[in-house]
């Protein structure tokens, strides 16, 4: 007999709709049921009634955090369909936007994870430094989020030459902040105790569940669309693919922290390599046929497939967000974990419910179920961190 603890329909950490049913023996998770679909918006069906240009705006609404990775995959699919190659300057502008977004998305996740384990300073600071990224994005696109920059055959706005020195100078502010986070997270004994060996996803499991992005790279599976199937001009810039062998929550966090340094490197190279030129080919029509577009979002590979009958609308539009494969892997990563760790493990894949989409704990001995609300879970997690601190002699 086991107890069932429901977590959801709002994720306590990320406050988005999804539902987890944890089957527990005492405090140890023995089985996990995941339910999604609480916020299905039928984007794929909607896309069939939008023109190719509008599709890019539509897919930008799939996710609020990584609002540029879906447009990136979408224009890659459209350009694959039409055999279009965008101008060089447009490609560099696209890369700058994508990498800035990766930094802000990773900082957002780091803040939430910090808050959950009781490190509110990490939370406040990472969100403070996230503002730098949002400021740069605002300077470039006019928007802090949902930049509306991409279109098949180019970008909608150029980066002004006089803004480039400002961006180069402003981005320098990020470097000491990233160093600070690297030290604060990777050298802290309490964070080590809370996250090392917790929620391990082995390499074999990562392959079987077809996970992508930092979740895969933390499990020693070297996949990164930017390296494997270079889109834009990622083959023209130098950066390291961060791959770690542990598969636990710590490695997933470490991959993200180290990746932010690489993103800064990419942005600086793009700003140096950019030469004046046109940024848009003004594509009017796309031929009949099929197109596949991929992009490396902060959470992993975004995959778009489009089918065109030669008209102005897609005949079929398929979107696969990275969380769709990553969340399912919690089915194995959560087993054997404490309830206090479960929500952290669930969040370690940086799930994006906008793209995919709730925890019930069931006691196997009594068959009772209890629902854990967000506050209760966060309290449970904070208590556990405090216990670790006491055992380590840190108050």
């Amino acid at each position: 007999m086991s107890e069932i603890i429901p977590i959801g329909p709002y994720h306590p950490l990320q406050e988005e709709p999804e539902f987890f049913r944890l089957h527990v023996d005492g405090e140890v998770v023995s089985k996990l049921d995941i339910e999604i679909g609480y916020n299905h918006r039928a984007i794929e069906k909607l896309a069939e009634s939008k023109s190719w240009d509008q599709v890019v705006f539509l897919v930008e609404r799939i996710c609020g955090i990584c609002s540029t990775s879906h447009p990136a995959a979408s224009i890659n699919a459209q350009e694959d369909l039409g055999g279009i190659e965008a101008p060089e300057r447009a490609q560099y502008i696209r890369m700058i936007i994508c990498e800035l977004e990766r930094i802000h998305s990773h900082l957002l996740w780091l803040g939430l994870a910090g808050h959950f384990i009781g490190y509110n300073t990490v939370w406040m600071w990472s969100w403070k430094y996230r503002e730098i990224v949002c400021d740069i994005l605002e300077k470039i696109s006019g928007n802090r989020q949902s930049y509306a920059m991409f279109k098949a055959g180019g970008v909608r706005r150029d980066i002004l030459e006089e803004d480039i020195p400002w961006i180069k100078k402003y981005i320098q502010k990020l470097k000491p902040a990233l160093d600070l986070f690297k030290g604060a997270v990777m050298d802290d004994p309490v964070i080590h105790a809370r996250t090392k060996g917790v929620g391990i996803l082995t390499k074999e499991q990562a392959i079987a569940y077809c996970v992508v992005g930092p979740t895969a790279r933390a499990s020693d599976v070297a996949i990164d669309v930017r390296k494997d199937d270079p889109y834009f001009l990622y083959n023209q810039v130098e950066f390291d693919e961060i791959v770690l062998p542990g598969g636990d929550v710590f490695d997933k966090a470490a991959v993200r922290i180290l990746e932010m340094f690489e993103s800064v490197k990419i942005i600086e190279q793009c700003l140096d390599k950019m030469k004046p030129g046109i940024v848009d080919l003004h594509i009017k029509e796309l031929p009949a046929g099929e197109g596949i577009g991929r992009a490396e979002a902060p959470r992993g590979e975004v995959y778009h497939y489009c089918l065109s009958d030669g008209s102005n609308f897609p005949a079929r539009y398929k979107v696969r967000a990275p969380s769709y494969t990553n969340i399912l892997s919690n089915e194995v990563a959560c087993i054997g974990q404490k309830v206090a760790d479960a929500a952290l493990v669930l969040a370690a894949v940086d799930p994006c419910y906008c793209c995919t989409e709730r925890l019930i704990v069931v006691d196997r001995q009594t068959g009772d179920s209890r629902e854990l609300k967000g506050d209760a879970l966060i309290k449970l997690s904070h208590q556990y961190t405090d216990e670790i601190k006491q055992s380590l002699g840190i108050s």
Partner: protein, 145 residues
Amino acid sequence: MQWPVIEKKIKDKYGEQIEKWHAHNERRIYIDIPLSLLKEFAGYLFTDLKARFIIASGVDTPRGGIEILYHFDFYQMPQVVSLRVFVPKSDLKVESLADIITGIKWIEREINELLGIEFTGHPDMRHLLLPDDWPEGKYPLRRDQ
């Protein structure tokens, strides 16, 4: 293993049974295969050639059936291989690949509820995205309804 080697292996093994081999460009390859060959072919790609399953997508065609594409890649290679099978409306059954590829479980449930294809042998055929009280026999992505 590089792509030309993989290409040769696939062609050597299934050359005559492949209905159409269409390379849209050097990175995007579409392979049309008969439905009866699907499980063996996909198993060969995933288990023997160490392919990575990306996603499956289904589309209701005007040709009286539903087309399903199974998209694969090979980790550090740019090539995407899309296996295309045609499922006639008279018999909307496809063998489930969930026993070979664990990560395919959700998308088979999704295609089942959105397009009405039954995946035989799938361990859990509940609704994924649609509510539990969704009416029987109504499929949102079908064009004949």
